[in-house]
């Protein structure tokens, strides 16, 4: 395989990963923007999504496409509960307090996953995994195409939801001014629960989609979490398209670095990009205030 086709192959792989980074980051961005909470437990929602999907398929006999939405709803429930425990009691306290409580929650959830499900990697079986697609120099499984399509479609739906739907407009109003929007009759507690549920659900979707390519492990949520933050900052706050593009840029940059620089250091690319962007354009690549 010559360098050029390798590069193209890696760009395509990077786009697939990037769509999932974007999916992770959307939830984190909404939680950060609407509630000023850095949700350190977001990676654990991703892990739980993978595990719930696995057990729905192997123990309950669901098929993959049915397991996806069910796992999302279950994890969204966990998200609502998490918000009640770690964020609700701290309303009005400095922002770093919720960072610490969600950090604690992340430690708890990670060990619970390890105790309940063990450290053995679990394989999610997707029906699209076994068919190969050849597009010129690029080899793909159908599953990767499915992942990319899901990522783009879900982000598109979220975009329209935030732009057009009444709840989405309420969300944007809360980002602008919490107090004023509460006065206008927006229920902030319900809004917080909804935001967490949405974030947890999308993270779970990413976990169950990627869980079919990589194995599901209790510790697998750490990297998507920190990369998610990198994407949020790259994309600029409150900007759904920006998140999608930054996610894709990060995915491509990483997979190119993995094959042309060093596999081990490819994970550090996200942080290097993050730092460079914060230094030269702190409002993010696509930054604008909502």
């Amino acid at each position: 395989m010559d360098t050029f086709s390798l590069a193209i192959q890696q760009v395509v792989n990077g786009l697939v990963m990037g769509s999932m980074y974007a999916l992770m980051s959307i939830g984190m961005m909404l939680i950060l923007g609407i509630m000023t909470v850095i949700n350190m437990a977001h990676g654990e929602f991703y892990v739980l999504g993978g595990y719930f999907c696995y057990f729905l398929i192997t123990r309950m006999g669901f098929n993959y496409l049915a397991a996806l939405p069910v796992a999302m709803v279950l994890v969204a429930g966990v998200g609502i509960l998490s918000e009640k425990i770690t964020v609700r009691p701290l309303v009005g306290r400095p922002w770093f307090t919720t960072f610490l409580t969600t950090f604690g929650l992340s430690m708890i959830l990670r060990d619970v996953a390890q105790i309940v499900w063990g450290v053995d990697p679990r394989e999610i079986d997707s029906p699209f995994l076994h068919k190969r697609v050849v597009l010129g120099p690029v080899y793909l499984t159908e599953h990767r195409i499915f992942i990319f399509a899901m990522g783009v479609v879900v982000i598109g739906i979220l975009y329209l939801f935030i732009k057009r739907h009444k709840m989405g407009m309420a969300m944007r109003a809360v980002v602008r001014d919490r107090e004023a929007s509460a006065l206008m009759g927006i229920n902030l507690n319900a809004m917080n629960s909804f935001t967490f549920a949405l974030g947890a659900g999308t993270a779970a979707l990413a976990g169950s989609l990627l869980g079919a390519i990589f194995n599901v492990l209790p510790s697998m949520g750490e990297l998507p979490l920190v990369k998610g933050f990198a994407v949020v900052i790259m994309g600029g706050m409150g900007n759904v398209q920006g998140i999608l593009f930054s996610g894709l840029i990060l995915g491509v940059a990483e997979s190119l670095a993995a094959s042309f620089i060093s596999l081990g250091l490819s994970d550090a690319i996200a942080f290097a990009l993050l730092i460079v962007i914060l230094l030269f354009k702190p409002s993010g690549l696509f930054g604008k205030r909502i």
């Binding site: 950060l32 000023t36 850095i38 425990i85 770690t86 009691p89 701290l90 306290r93 922002w95 770093f96 307090t97 960072f99 610490l100 409580t101 950090f103 604690g104 929650l105 992340s106 430690m107 708890i108 990670r110 060990d111 619970v112 390890q114 105790i115 750490e222 920190v226 933050f229 990198a230 900052i233 060093s262 081990g264 250091l265 994970d267 550090a268 996200a270 942080f271 290097a272 993050l274 730092i275 914060l278 230094l279 702190p282």
Partner: protein
């Protein structure tokens, strides 16, 4: 009892207690835990400088503990430097790293500053785990020599057991504590607190926010890395695991439990929260669950910390303070 008398009794009796602790708990294992708890007080004191006094939530700060441990072990393994130079070298190099990392990070404020320091902590982790030629990657560095001091031929002392090491680290940490207490009385120390309370207002009275925060960040790096150096020469093994998030969470618990922005609070918190996980060591699998739950409970129900609570209680009883606090 009047205030002066209380103060003159309180401080010496505390020091006496610290001096006699290894004799109260004479087993090797308990002495080991005592040394570790003193070592982690450096982490807590360092984080307290930037987070407690200067009010900047530097989430990546605890990573300087692991960085310090690595620098110190490399200085001693690769260059064969004696312990005293390793310690001083670690402090100097870490302060340098603090400058390099602090300058870009401190261009940002609040949440963004916090996340960027976290990103740097992650980069350190990746570099250390991947630079196999220098750090032996995930295998870690082994065979780090024990700490020893040597002056010419006539004086040599080797800190090769828990007891001697305890007194070495105790002296260093009390010295650091004393230095911090005096430092916070100076103009610069007060500038830290001014920045925490109101950055705009303090810059209007001639405090340069960036440079004051830079100094706070570099001081924090220096103090934290000292703990790392002591750790490396005590445990004699360092691996990238020291960069784990568990230790970051733990350091925050130490500072908050002791009392954010107080002098002795982080010292107490650091000691307590090294001992508690050790006590639960049998329940290794539940360790993160315990630490995580404690973190959540403390942040929600006990935000002032031990020293803060005590100060409140004493104020309520309208008694003079036994020691000065910078709450």
């Amino acid at each position: 009892m009047n205030a002066a008398l209380r103060k003159s009794i309180l401080l010496p009796s505390l020091v006496l207690l610290l001096l006699s602790l290894p004799w109260i708990f004479p087993a090797t294992y308990t002495r080991h835990i005592l040394v570790m708890s003193l070592i982690y007080t450096f982490s807590a004191m360092g984080l307290n400088v930037i987070f407690g006094f200067a009010g900047q939530a530097a989430f990546g700060q605890p990573a300087f503990f692991a960085l310090g441990a690595y620098i110190s072990s490399l200085l001693s393994l690769k260059l064969g430097l004696p312990f005293s130079l390793c310690l001083l070298g670690t402090m100097a190099i870490s302060t340098g790293f603090g400058f390099i990392i602090g300058y870009p990070c401190l261009q940002l404020r609040g949440i963004y500053f916090g996340i960027t320091t976290m990103a740097f902590a992650q980069i350190m982790y990746y570099v250390v785990s991947n630079w196999v030629e220098l750090t032996r990657g995930p295998m870690g560095l082994v065979g780090i020599p024990a700490a020893s001091f040597r002056v010419g031929d006539f004086f040599q002392i080797e800190f090769n057991n828990e007891l001697k090491y305890y007194y070495l680290v105790l002296a260093a940490s009390l010295l650091t504590l004393f230095f911090l207490a005096r430092f916070m009385e100076t103009r610069l120390g007060r500038a830290f607190v001014a920045i925490r309370e109101n950055q705009e207002l303090s810059s209007s009275i001639g405090i340069h926010p960036l440079w004051v925060k830079m100094i706070a960040f570099m001081m924090a790096c220096m103090i934290t890395s000292m703990g790392g150096s002591f750790y490396a020469h005590f445990v004699k093994f360092v691996s990238p695991i020291e960069f784990q998030w568990y230790y970051i969470g733990l350091t925050f618990i130490m500072v908050i439990t002791g009392g954010i922005g107080t002098i002795v609070g982080p010292f107490i918190g650091g000691a307590i929260f090294t001992i508690i996980p050790e006590v639960f060591r049998a329940a290794e699998t539940y360790r993160n669950i315990l630490v995580g739950s404690v973190l959540i409970l403390i942040v929600i129900f006990f935000p002032e910390g031990i020293v803060g609570k005590l100060a409140q209680w004493r104020k309520n009883r309208n008694l003079p303070l036994g020691e000065k606090e910078h709450a």
